[in-house]
């Protein structure tokens, strides 16, 4: 009764196509944004920022990116880690080469560079499909990580082979480097996450999104009704890699501060982001956030429960986490291939009728 759409009439096609067609959803969303921007920054401490909120926002961006490619355009990629590395090393090279340019510009440029690299590795998608393509994207993963490890130019010939983020400020606040405060980290990532989610939503409700979905659902029919597979697939790779690249840039520059390619951007990172969108929901932007939240929170909870409470060794907790995540993936694929997003929608449909279910 409280959550309802009755009486909420649309009088124009513009209203009908908006992001939250139900009034209550819209209010809830504005309220959430208000809290996120106006309340959280004042109460956040470094544990919450570093363990939960900042990684959540960064992985949400990566998950949206992969969801555009896999969930919307139907091209499975196992190269997410490699593309995040491109974002990270691009932003590092840009930051050190042009210290005077604002960091936000660098992060956006890092996304753009990743988009180009993504398109390059997306070219085979024009010839090969399904898991052939999935395996082909492994080439991107292994090659890129190797490249950043072996070519000293990328890490500015540092002795350790690591890259370290120098301090950069926005309006006098440090947003990268060791002196960055928890609220600054959080707000930087929040701004990117919100704007990018909004862009993803716009793209997926418009004609580009329909072309992607047409390719996903039936590529041959899509081409015959007029979708150019070249531009549709490459645009999906480009947009997806742009998002993933920004996530990589933020992960390195704002969150980690230092990174080494094979450790921070190995193949397990690719799987982690893939699992986020499976658990969250393929083809859903809300699902990307939900999946990211789930897989960021799970290790934190397990660690609190097993290590802190029960005093079990950390490596055992890590191994159990592998089992649990693997089991959950299978569980979700069997029970609800559309993930948390679908469960959320079903809950809302039930809520619409509650408390009078008939």
């Amino acid at each position: 009764m409280i959550y309802r759409e009755a009486g909420d009439f649309k009088t124009s096609y513009r209203d009908d196509g908006q992001t939250f067609p139900i009034r209550l959803d819209r209010w809830g969303y504005y309220a959430l944004l208000g809290v996120a921007f106006l309340v959280v920054p004042f109460v956040i401490d470094s544990y919450w920022a570093n363990a939960v909120l900042v990684p959540f926002l960064i992985y949400a961006i990566a998950a949206i990116g992969l969801n555009i490619l896999t969930g919307y355009a139907g091209q499975v990629s196992l190269g997410t880690g490699g593309f995040m590395a491109v974002g990270a090393y691009s932003v590092y090279k840009l930051m050190t080469a042009f210290p005077g340019v604002p960091i936000f510009v660098h992060i956006l440029l890092a996304g753009a560079i990743t988009a180009v690299v993504g398109m390059l590795f997306g070219l085979p998608s024009l010839r090969i499909k399904g898991f052939y393509l999935a395996v082909a994207t492994l080439a991107a993963q292994f090659f890129l990580v190797w490249l950043f490890n072996k070519v000293p130019w990328f890490y500015n010939y540092s002795a350790s082979g690591q890259i370290n983020a120098p301090e950069r400020t926005v309006f006098g606040w440090a947003v990268t480097g060791p002196a960055t405060s928890a609220p600054a980290k959080y707000l930087t990532c929040l701004v990117f996450a919100v704007v990018l989610a909004w862009i993803a939503r716009n793209l997926t409700r418009g004609m580009v999104g329909r072309k992607w979905m047409a390719i996903r659902d039936m590529d041959i029919a899509a081409e015959i009704i007029g979708v150019n597979p070249l531009t549709a697939k490459l645009s999906a790779f480009a947009v997806s890699s742009f998002f993933v690249g920004i996530a990589g840039a933020l992960l390195f520059s704002v969150y980690l501060g230092a990174a080494e390619a094979s450790e921070a951007f190995g193949i397990n990172k690719s799987f982690l982001v893939l699992f986020m969108i499976i658990i969250g929901g393929l083809g859903s932007i809300f699902g990307s956030f939900a999946g990211a939240a789930f897989l960021v929170l799970l290790p934190v909870l397990l660690k609190n429960l097993l290590v802190v409470r029960l005093g079990w060794p950390t490596d055992l907790a890590a191994h159990l986490e592998l089992m649990i995540v693997g089991g959950l993936i299978i569980f979700f694929l069997i029970v609800e291939p559309h993930g948390l997003a679908r469960l959320w929608r079903l809950t809302k449909e039930k809520l619409r009728l509650w408390p009078f279910p008939h």
Binding site: R14, R210, K211, D217, A221, A222, I224, I225, G226, V239
Partner: protein, 272 residues
């Protein structure tokens, strides 16, 4: 004009209209198998042109050649008086060809509305950038095209399923949505591959009515593959008969019906 019997009316239509598409000596092979053997026929502006023939005669392959999905080894396709260069299917779609498929090829993960909207993809030109920010042109274009799509939804009487995911629809409605998607492109030529396969009598009657209405109201040229002889003879202005990849008859329904080769190869059994 008003009292003219259907057969004479269609003869008139077929003979006088200008040729829109001309297929010359098309031959299509898959490895050693010859699917289409040296077939020529033309399609005139505004007519309903049927292709009939037994299973495996090469009808669907013919449609695939027209829509650019298969590239014939020999032969030429002329469209509006110009020879069509080798093209990808999506380029052919831009020329104004739209089609439906024998085994429904809708996008199952999308709603009915989105499926039909994809039909208008060549009408929408706003850039990736303006779509990303959803400003000015992108939004305006979306609303304008939505209005066009709503007209087609009204025309085909599928208002109530607008937002339903296509995967959930029954067979007959899916066929109708597919027609709607093809119509949304405002095609010059509409290719229909067995639009009535697997339908019951009522559904077939509905579909016939829609096809005739499309032809009448929008003046769309229609190329049709169909097995139901009654439907073909009633609907079409001219008929091509194929058998084993060859053309064995071409003309008005009455001419085809009287053609001895057609009777022996195909209709013979039905006439007994």
């Amino acid at each position: 004009m008003i009292a003219t019997p259907a057969a004479e009316f269609s003869t008139d239509k077929g003979a006088t209209r200008p040729v829109l598409m001309d297929l010359k000596n098309i031959t299509l092979r898959f490895g050693g198998v010859v699917a289409i053997k040296d077939i020529s026929f033309d399609i005139r502006e505004g007519e309903i042109r049927a292709i009939i023939g037994p299973n495996g005669a090469g009808k669907s392959s013919m449609l695939n050649v027209i829509s650019g999905f298969y590239v014939p080894q020999q032969g030429e396709i002329w469209f509006e008086g110009q020879k069509r260069p080798p093209m990808k299917p999506y380029q052919v779609a831009r020329l104004g060809l739209a089609r439906t498929f024998q085994n429904i090829a809708l996008f199952d993960g999308m709603s009915v509305l989105d499926n039909i909207m994809t039909g208008r993809l060549n009408k929408m030109k706003s850039s990736l950038f303006s779509q990303a920010l959803w400003w000015g042109p992108a939004e305006r274009e979306e609303v304008e095209n939505r209005a066009q799509v709503e007209k087609i939804i009204d025309f085909l009487e599928i208002q109530n399923i607008r937002k339903t995911p296509v995967g959930r629809l029954p067979y007959g409605l899916k066929k109708r949505v597919e027609l709607a998607r093809a119509l949304a492109a405002e095609p010059r030529i509409l290719l229909l591959d067995e639009p009535m396969a697997g339908m019951n009598v009522e559904e077939k009657e509905d579909m016939c009515r829609f096809i005739l209405d499309v032809n009448d109201e929008f003046g769309t040229t229609i190329v049709l593959i169909e097995h139901d002889m009654g439907v073909v003879m009633d609907l079409s202005d001219r008929v091509v008969v194929m058998d084993y990849g060859r053309k064995i008859g071409d003309g008005t329904p009455d001419e085809v019906r009287a053609n001895p080769e057609v009777i022996s190869a195909y209709l013979g059994v039905a006439h007994e």
